[in-house]
């Protein structure tokens, strides 16, 4: 693979002024974090919206992490792990998937807008896909605007 050239950075932040959401991304160390690394190595550009928190496995992601992020003011949350069957810990993502399924449906039920919390599987080889997921999630959250539900605006 030819690594695309490092073009000299030009100080023209494309979306300056527009709502730039803050999205907390929980990435599993072995696949999705590696996928994010590959996106970097391949210089694939995506919006500067996400802030990554590295976890050993998507199975480590407690629903509290997700809700806490929304409560503290994240506009969106992304959780990403290995594709089914690829889990470094054999079955961590299967276990997580059930939990995420319940959380996903429960949040939708509670009226948290679909798209506020996203889940994805991104492998270590999917740099472009990782970027695509980030673009997609960012766009969805941008459409929704700043998160108000579950947000704890300030101290009592």
């Amino acid at each position: 693979m030819d690594e695309s050239p490092v073009t000299e950075a030009v100080a023209t932040d494309s979306t300056a002024g527009a709502f730039e959401p803050k999205i907390v991304a929980f990435l599993c160390n072995w696949c999705s974090y590696a996928g994010a690394d590959l996106a970097g190595i391949s210089r694939i550009q995506y919006p500067p919206s996400i802030r990554v928190i590295r976890v050993p496995c998507s199975g480590r992601v407690d629903p509290f992490f997700i809700l806490k992020a929304l409560q503290n003011g994240a506009d969106g949350v992304l959780v990403s792990g290995c594709h089914p069957g690829d889990c470094h810990y054999l079955t961590g993502n299967y276990v997580a998937r059930r939990r995420f399924a319940v959380l996903n449906d429960l949040l939708e039920f509670a009226g948290i807008d679909p798209g506020r919390v996203s889940f994805s599987w991104v492998s270590a080889a999917e740099g472009e896909r990782f970027a695509e997921v980030v673009r997609d999630v960012t766009e969805k959250v941008r459409q929704l605007g700043p998160n108000k539900k579950l947000l704890k605006e300030e101290v009592a």
Partner: protein
């Protein structure tokens, strides 16, 4: 012999023969139309026992507190028996600690009205018991989905309805205390480092509490309705728990509290679980 007489006779027998150290059932409350859990340890105490449509409290909630005394006989209607199954699954009691006296249930009345939970009950008869007291009741036809109307609302409307409802929450945790599923030594609301749930009654904190409580009920809640009936503020807590039960049933084909040997739905997985929500 009426069911009540059978019940008293059997309780008396069990205590007299020392087959059990205690019978957990109900007795009439001081207020007309109410009943309160009764814990009988002597044969003559059995004379006050009742079982009828006043007897709502889920008796499974008491087992973790008294199981150390010895073998306990517990009167179980459908939902209590399912809660016992959950406790068995989670090894909070062992089968030999229990003598389950099953009773068919036609629904619990609150202020003369059938309790919300009972209106949609699919398991009025015990799913597990050692002996039946009286006859089983006829299984009701499947009830319409009680969440259907709510789920038709827009996300904003749904949020608003729930936010209004939980805004009354005074964080007394009665819902937790009456729930047979809640037996953690320290509840997540009481932990710090990290303190996941703020102690205030702000909308965000209250919602966080109820959403997380619902998460903890997934695959475990048997929809007995104790939480809603127990809430001093009249919050429709069952709505959350019904939802997770529905999710678990639709997604994983699992219904809580039916098969003691099956792991709880969230302690298991199937490689073929649906994942349409994952990109």
């Amino acid at each position: 012999m009426s069911r009540e007489e059978q019940l008293r006779k059997r309780a008396k027998e069990l205590l007299a023969k020392k087959e059990v150290v205690m019978v957990i059932c109900y007795r009439a409350g001081k207020r007309p139309g109410t009943a309160t859990p009764a814990f009988v340890t002597r044969p003559d105490g059995a004379d006050s026992l009742v079982f009828d449509d006043r007897c709502g409290m889920n008796l499974a909630a008491y087992l973790p507190r008294v199981k150390h005394l010895g073998r306990i006989a517990v009167v179980a209607k459908g939902c209590d028996s399912r809660s016992l199954v959950t406790l068995l699954k989670e090894k909070q009691v062992t089968r030999d600690q229990l003598l389950i006296l099953g009773v068919g249930c036609e629904g619990v009345k609150e202020k003369g009205k059938l309790s919300d939970a009972c209106a949609t009950c699919a398991y009025p008869n015990p799913v597990i018991c050692d002996e039946m007291i009286g006859e089983k009741v006829t299984e009701p036809p499947p009830a319409p989905d009680p969440l259907a109307d709510f789920e038709k609302l827009t996300p904003d409307e749904r949020w608003q309805v729930l936010a209004d409802d939980v805004s009354r929450c005074i964080r007394c945790y009665a819902c937790r205390q009456v729930c047979p599923n809640c037996y953690c030594p320290t509840c997540f609301v009481d932990t710090n480092s990290p303190q996941w749930v703020g102690k205030t009654t702000a909308e965000s904190d209250n919602m966080m509490f109820h959403l997380m409580r619902a998460m903890h009920m997934a695959g475990r809640c048997v929809e007995c309705g104790s939480c809603s009936r127990g809430c001093p503020m009249g919050i429709d807590l069952m709505r959350f728990n019904r939802k997770v039960a529905k999710i678990v049933k639709e997604r994983f084909g699992a219904t809580a509290g039916l098969v003691p040997d099956e792991p709880p739905a969230l302690a298991a997985f199937d490689p073929g679980d649906k994942q349409e929500f994952i990109q």
